[in-house]
């Protein structure tokens, strides 16, 4: 294939919503089959059950698999800040944070989330955040303005591209993860409007098909340099800039 693929969006663990092999072994096997070099990942235990246990599982799993880079999460329904939790997570090796208001059912105007943002300034790691509905990018981009860390919006699709472009023009810290960019010229339009350096490849493996995320980028009518940036270069740069 010729590209160094680094995946910003993978998960592992037990998935209760339907029967699927989402084990760490299945994830690694699929990533290797598709030639992925590295992948950010976290245990779904941290999303659906307990973020402390989930983070511990993520760290342990990634310690045994060099291609996996640990992502920490907190659940603001439980987390209320004030305990240096984020600093501890960074010190133990987490490369980024990821939150799940869509799956956990909490709003942006939510004190524990605002507390998280305050404490995340110091941690200064990339934050992955879903953009699952209209208005979300607009609000989240403003809330994270001048915090010093990049925000990568996952789940941007044809229904939120317009909002993403408008927000990205205003906010240099905003990036878009690609796995749901499924309209025929999404990559071309975003590259033209905001630059390929703002797009970060993700697959949502092992819950989604990998090629669904990969083929639109490999086949996009943008330069080879732009594809290489989207598929891995941009994410590596974001991670390297922040240790």
């Amino acid at each position: 294939m010729g590209y160094e693929v680094v995946d910003a969006n993978t998960l592992f663990g037990f998935y209760s919503k339907r029967k699927v092999d989402s084990s760490k072994e299945a994830l690694v096997q699929e990533l290797k089959r598709h030639g992925v070099k590295k992948a950010l990942t976290l245990s779904m235990k941290g999303i659906y059950y307990d973020h402390v246990l989930g983070n511990a599982e993520t760290l342990q799993t990634c310690a045994g698999e060099a291609m996996l880079l640990p992502v920490a999460t907190v659940d603001p329904r439980k987390y209320y800040g004030g305990k240096n939790e984020l600093r501890s997570l960074v010190e133990t090796g987490f490369k980024a944070f990821r939150l799940f208001p869509d799956l956990q059912g909490w709003p942006l105007d939510y004190a524990p989330f605002l507390k998280f943002l305050e404490e995340a300034r110091e941690a200064c790691k990339p934050l992955l955040f879903p953009a699952y509905t209209a208005g979300f990018i607009t609000k989240a981009a403003k809330l994270t303005e001048n915090h010093g860390f990049p925000v990568v919006f996952t789940s941007v699709g044809y229904w939120t591209i317009s909002e993403a472009i408008a927000a990205m023009r205003e906010a240099a810290h905003v990036y878009v993860e690609t796995h749901l960019l499924d309209s025929p010229d999404a990559i071309e339009v975003l590259t033209r409007e905001v630059g390929a350096e703002r797009l970060i490849f993700g697959s949502n493996m092992p819950l989604s098909y990998f090629s669904v995320a990969l083929l639109p980028i490999v086949n996009a009518e943008v330069s080879e340099e732009a594809k290489a940036m989207i598929l891995g270069g941009n994410l590596l740069k974001l991670l390297e800039e922040r240790g």
């Binding site: 339907r18 699709g157 044809y158 591209i161 989604s208 669904v212 083929l215």
Partner: protein
């Protein structure tokens, strides 16, 4: 490159920043991804003005022999829909009917929808219906039983990604309804859904559709390419099943 017939595409504008919507742009997409024939419904007809949209689509089909159409009907306008059936459905270029219950607000098993189905049933052409969630699948089930000779394509194979309720319901329903087909497009593509569909109903009743120009065909090609099914099954899905169903 696969040989492909796309049974679910749209011609027209979208209320999203999608620029690849002209006939030339669509032809370019088809050439890049091996799509030999495409069956469109009019976006305008689906989301706004049925008659104007069907007219626009008809003009497209006159100019491009590799493109075919579905006549879009709106069950809120019974008499006007019957007129659309008479105007277009006898044509060899219109291969079926499109209904979109979410936009019209008329469920497939509503009395209005069924009145229209009775009207186009004698033409013997398939129905492509937007099928989303368990309620959408239940409506298809009622109609498939009431009209056993009508070939019904469940667009998005029931949809509802992540938790998979819709597509699992569609697979279960299709298993017992031999006059139904599962069409695979959608933004959220749960891994394993294609293999589960093939295991349950057989590859012969699964159709490739992309939702172009809303969705990039290569995105959906990736779904079939990655599916854990034999190559022969993929060839059926990409091409042979549509060729057989629509006599192409």
């Amino acid at each position: 490159m696969w040989k492909i017939i796309d049974v679910h595409a749209h011609y027209g504008k979208w209320f999203f920043p999608i620029e690849a919507d002209s006939p030339q742009a669509i032809l370019h997409i088809c050439r890049r991804f091996g799509i030999e024939k495409v069956i469109f419904s009019s976006t305008n007809a689906v989301v706004y003005d049925m008659a104007e949209g069907n007219r626009e689509l008809s003009r497209l089909l006159e100019a491009y022999p590799q493109f075919y159409g579905y006549v879009t009907l709106n069950p809120n306008y019974i008499e006007a829909s019957k007129q659309e059936i008479q105007t277009y459905l006898a044509s060899e270029r219109f291969l079926g009917v499109k209904l979109h219950p979410n936009y019209s607000g008329q469920a497939l098993d509503s009395s209005e929808s069924q009145e229209l189905i009775k009207e186009f049933y004698p033409y013997g052409k398939p129905l492509l219906v937007h099928t989303w969630g368990e309620s959408g699948v239940n409506a298809v089930t009622q109609v498939a039983k009431a009209f056993p000779s009508l070939q019904i394509i469940m667009a998005h194979m029931g949809g509802d990604g992540l938790e998979g309720r819709g597509w699992r319901a569609a697979i279960k329903a299709a298993k017992n309804l031999p006059n139904t087909y599962l069409e695979v497009c959608g933004s959220v593509q749960d891994r394993d859904r294609i293999r589960e569909a093939v295991d349950a109903v057989g590859a012969e009743r699964i159709l490739f559709g992309s939702d172009m120009t809303l969705i990039n065909p290569v995105y959906i090609i990736g779904v079939i390419e990655d599916a854990d099914i034999p190559r022969e099954a993929k060839e059926l899905i990409f091409y042979e099943n549509a060729k057989r169903l629509f006599n192409l």
